[in-house]
């Protein structure tokens, strides 16, 4: 009952915000102070979007980019949490490695992108590797923070019951640090996605990033924004799935 009311009003707030955003956009572009080359009107974007959807040609780009993102993200998640798990086995390792990981992440990897091409070519694999590298760090750093914040108390109890390492991980460490790890996974998603798009922009033959770059280079802002709509829809959908998992995990 109470939950429903707050659910409704939070949905209302979200819709209101969306309306505000589009309204502001509409207002800005109808005022004419901003060149439509930089900010096309919502209507032109809508038309371009419909055209894209109707032509069906978005499908192959979406598939390439989607699968690249998902692969890179999966690698980032697995490698990141595995590394974090291994490191948080001892305080000493955390003290040694956490700053190292943070330090490596500080390197503007984007400037080293050509190396990925050199080793992996211009196909999706270079983008997967590049985006997975970027996506690894938020998962690892957040998981380290999450794992080391698990209350000693619960670990001790599990230990006293003879829990295996895996069972302890699955039933204690993971749920205890879940919000923080999930945050890492979320950030990782955004970074991975942005990196894939960036990588495709820099060099590739297909993908949404390529399409966006092409539209930008040909000065077709409406088409470019239409592609961005795909990006946003994809990321909102992914985040909704994550939120669902999250509320399932902390069902109450």
């Amino acid at each position: 009952m109470i939950g429903d009311a707050s659910n409704l009003s939070s949905r209302a707030i979200q819709l209101g915000f969306l309306a505000l955003l589009v309204g502001a956009w509409q207002l800005l572009s109808s005022l004419g102070t901003i060149s439509p080359l930089l900010l096309p009107s919502p209507d032109s974007v809508r038309i371009a979007f419909v055209k894209l959807v109707e032509s069906g040609q978005f499908w192959s780009s979406l598939r390439v980019t989607g699968s690249t993102v998902l692969q890179a993200w999966a690698i980032a998640m697995i490698a990141g949490s595995a590394a974090a798990y291994a490191i948080t086995r001892s305080r000493f390792l955390v003290a040694v490695f956490e700053p190292v990981i943070a330090g490596i992440f500080a390197i503007p990897l984007t400037l080293l992108f050509p190396l990925y091409i050199l080793f992996l070519g211009i196909g999706p694999s270079s983008k997967v590797a590049y985006a997975a590298t970027y996506g690894f760090f938020p998962v690892a750093l957040n998981a380290i923070a999450g794992f080391s914040a698990v209350k000693e108390h619960y670990l001790r109890a599990a230990h006293s019951m003879g829990a295996s390492a895996f069972a302890t991980f699955r039933h204690v460490m993971l749920p205890a640090s879940f919000p923080i790890i999930l945050t890492g996974i979320r950030i990782s998603f955004f970074i991975t996605f942005a990196s894939v798009l960036g990588g495709e922009t820099l060099s590739s033959v297909t993908g949404i990033g390529k399409r966006i770059a092409l539209a930008a280079e040909l000065m077709e802002p409406a088409e470019m924004f239409a592609w961005i709509v795909f990006v946003i829809v994809f990321s909102v959908a992914t985040n909704m799935v994550l939120s669902m998992l999250e509320s399932r995990a902390s069902a109450q």
């Binding site: 108390h153 001790r156 230990h159 019951m161 003879g162 829990a163 302890t168 039933h171 205890a176 879940f178």
Partner: protein
């Protein structure tokens, strides 16, 4: 079994379920001066099938000792043997541990908490459901099986915690003040249950409590501890067969034993508090 022994006695280790030998525990502080000597050279043997209580003033090291017996803390010195084997970590097949503070996992319901514990302890899945239900019924918590720990009162959580520990079905159960948050009546009922359990199954139970009556009513022996540093002061023997009926509490022997324990602890606690008050008042003045 040779009963009535002085402090620090050695029961033949054949019969001892738990044998604690010269255990010392020092907790490091931030500076070496702030280090706390929690236990100083404790030796005691707990015979198999007995119900023993640890009694002592707050902070004397009871939980520390229990943690060491459970293999959760490695003592600074000394060793512990359980059924003849030296302990070097938890031995979940032999020992169940009921912690002083609730260790129910907040992200699981009571039912799930039980199941996870059973999973941890490698208990066959087919038994999970029945064990959970029985254990909860025994502490009057069946209705709350699908609640989350945070939806329970503190005392209810403590009962669940207790039920879960017992449900593991180990031979030795270590309980750290399992009744602290319960009313006297509930304590009594649950205490009788424990007494019955002991009589029926021959389990070994080590029980920390602050209630003298409880100690007398439940245990075969009471280990009285002294503080600063924690050490064994005396052992008081309660020679009364299990299961015990509430009538035992009305006997003069019960009263005498309770008073004996009271006397053993009273001065120490009172002095400890008083001394500190005075010395700190003095320090405040300078």
């Amino acid at each position: 079994m040779n009963k009535m022994t002085p402090a620090g006695q050695i029961v033949s280790s054949q019969t001892a379920a738990i044998s604690i030998q010269n255990v010392r525990q020092q907790y490091p502080g931030r500076h070496s001066s702030a280090a706390v000597l929690a236990l100083d050279d404790i030796s005691l043997d707990i015979p198999r099938g007995e119900f023993v209580c640890l009694l002592g003033p707050s902070g004397c090291g009871k939980s520390t000792l229990l943690n060491i017996v459970g293999g959760l803390i490695k003592p600074t010195a000394g060793k512990v043997q359980v059924s003849g084997r030296t302990i070097d970590g938890p031995s979940p097949r032999d020992i169940a541990f009921i912690f002083q503070e609730s260790t129910l996992l907040p992200w699981y319901t009571i039912r799930e908490n039980f199941h996870v514990s059973f999973k941890f302890s490698r208990i066959a899945r087919s038994e999970w459901q029945s064990r959970t239900e029985e254990a909860l019924a025994a502490v009057g918590m069946s209705r709350f099986i699908d609640h989350y720990p945070e939806q329970l009162s503190v005392g209810m959580r403590q009962r669940v915690n207790l039920a879960r520990g017992i449900a593991l079905g180990t031979d030795i159960i270590l309980m750290d003040e399992p009744f602290a948050a319960l009313d006297e009546q509930t304590r009594m009922v649950l205490g009788e249950d424990l007494s019955e359990l002991l009589a029926k199954t021959g389990k070994t139970i080590v029980f920390v409590t602050h209630s003298l009556a409880e100690a007398v009513f439940l245990s075969d022996r009471v280990y009285v501890m002294a503080a600063r540093p924690g050490r064994l002061k005396t052992i008081v023997e309660i020679d009364e067969p299990h299961p015990r009926s509430p009538d035992f509490m009305l006997t003069t022997r019960f009263g005498d034993l309770r008073n004996q324990l009271y006397g053993l602890l009273r001065d120490e606690v009172r002095e400890g508090l008083q001394i500190e008050r005075k010395s700190s008042a003095a320090a405040g003045r300078t």
